[in-house]
Amino acid sequence: MLELYTSEPNTFFLKPLIALAEKKAAFTSRYFDAGALQQFEASFPTDLESSLQLEREGPVLVHDGTIISSSFFMLEYISEALPGESLMPSDPYDAYRARAWGQFLGAQLGSIVPVLGCAKYLAPQLAQLDRSQLERQIAAIEPSERRIGWLAQLNGTYSEAYVESVRERLSMPISRIETALGREPWLAGTAYSIADIDAYAMLWVLPDLVPAKVNPTATPCIVDYLLRIGARESVCAALRTSHTGHPERHFVPGVEAARWG
């Protein structure tokens, strides 16, 4: 039995939905409202690894009782464990490149894009709710690494100066991705792979969040790449799972920025 605990198809949640559609895998969707903190309810599947959620928030795949968390490694798991075409390059060096991208994108886009999305959408949405109840819910979140991500939505972390500094941190990863795509059609070489699924799930919202940084003039290769991936049936199927019609407006706190170095 394959069950995917997922929320609106954006960022971390979008990745396995695309990969499962690429594999044409049948699965049961367990939809939850991440913005309403339903992932902290007692009925949510949890174990030692998934309670830590290395990315702080994200989807959970339950395969015959085993809980698979952490979105990039979930993509690799889907590629390896389910029938259908592999989504990993077969050449060991290209596989290395896909994994190195997964690590880079996780640390960079995984920590930057959620801040920009939460500042624009999640924090204002939460501000409409009953604050004392929300504070009680957040205070109960364990571990503290995850609680901090939610506290940031309420405590004024997202000042304009802070958001601008985070926006500036996008320049390095954007420029590296643009350069890579200027050389080859896909991140790990000649074939579409989990590195591209991982990148797409974070990049596709940037024309909305940072139009000055991602646009046809500044980043023609990225814009073309988004169009190529966005046209895939798997991506259309993944986006159709949205319950709100606007997955691009739904964000959760992401990977913690490097604490030093």
């Binding site: 030692l48 690894e49 830590l52 290395l54 395969h63 085993t66 698979i68 968390s69 952490s70 490694f73 979930m74 690799e76 798991y77 390896e80 464990a81 060991p92 060096y93 596989a95 290395y96 994994r99 190195a100 997964g102 690590q103 880079f104 996780g106 640390a107 571990p143 690494e145 390095m172 990977v255 490097a258 604490r259 030093w260 170095g261």
Partner: protein, 255 residues
């Protein structure tokens, strides 16, 4: 095709490919870089890895600079005993734990390590020389890290949070190893190589948290890895007292 490995001590990121290559029985040309002399930011090395981070591995025309994916490449590319479990669930677990070590446990442990070892060692040199050396570091994030370590700019809050995380991560690792003899399950894997490079000196650096009474499973796991010929061979390449800390894992009478 020869393998050339640019590395520092058998420790943390440098030790990961060193131990993996030794386990696979792959001979490599060793290029030792002295981290404290900023060898990794010199032009000759920046020609290999423009980011100036270590380790880096060159295999023919292929250049690899990320240590954890590098370990998977070594296992995929070379014959020798497999270092990844056969089933996909265990491979997922191995990767999850490697990311936990790399992105959660290691940064906290290394902040403490740099504040007491790398920083004071680097401060033996003149300030102007240090500033110039740091200004040559290509990645901004690494410049910030080096400035903090070299000029002792870690705040009390930052260090306290790192200490808290080292303790909580040690407890989590002990829980995991009490249900599983190796990181990925029943067999020794890259996950153990990764964790060993992070944790071999924990009983020395964190004696109050990591010892035979509080973390018997971690202690036994570290000793089992230390007893492997590949680990002996790899740590024998160490040149500093840092690598020599591994002696703490010698079994005493009754251990």
């Amino acid at each position: 095709m020869p393998v050339i490995l640019y590395h520092w001590e058998p420790n943390a990121n440098s030790g990961k490919p060193m131990l993996t290559l030794a386990e696979k029985g792959v001979a490599y040309e060793s290029r030792y870089l002295d981290l404290l002399q900023f060898d990794q930011h010199k032009p000759s090395y920046l020609a290999v890895n423009p980011d100036g981070t270590i380790p880096a591995m060159v295999h023919g025309s292929r250049v690899l600079t990320e240590s954890t994916p590098m370990m998977e490449y070594i296992d995929d590319e070379f014959s020798g005993p497999p270092l990844k479990p056969k089933d996909a669930r265990s491979r997922w677990r191995m990767r999850w734990w490697m990311r936990f070590f790399d992105s959660h446990f290691a940064p906290s442990l290394s902040m403490i390590g740099w504040s007491i070892f790398v920083g004071p060692a680097a401060r033996q040199r003149p300030q102007e020389e240090l500033r110039a050396a740091i200004d040559r570091i290509p990645l901004e994030s690494r410049r910030i890290a080096w400035r903090k370590a070299v000029f002792n700019e870690f705040s009390a809050d930052e260090l306290a949070e790192s200490k808290r995380r080292v303790l909580s991560s040690t407890i989590i690792l002990e829980r995991h190893l009490s249900r599983s003899s190796w990181i990925a399950g029943d067999s020794y894997s890259l996950g153990d190589i990764n964790g060993f490079n992070l944790g071999y000196a924990l009983p020395l650096s964190q004696p109050e948290h990591c010892n035979d009474t509080k973390t018997p499973h971690i202690m036994e796991w570290l000793r089992r890895i230390y007893e492997r010929p590949a680990a002996r061979e790899t740590w024998a390449k160490g040149r500093t007292p840092m690598a020599a800390r591994i002696k703490i894992l010698e079994r005493g009478p009754g251990a």
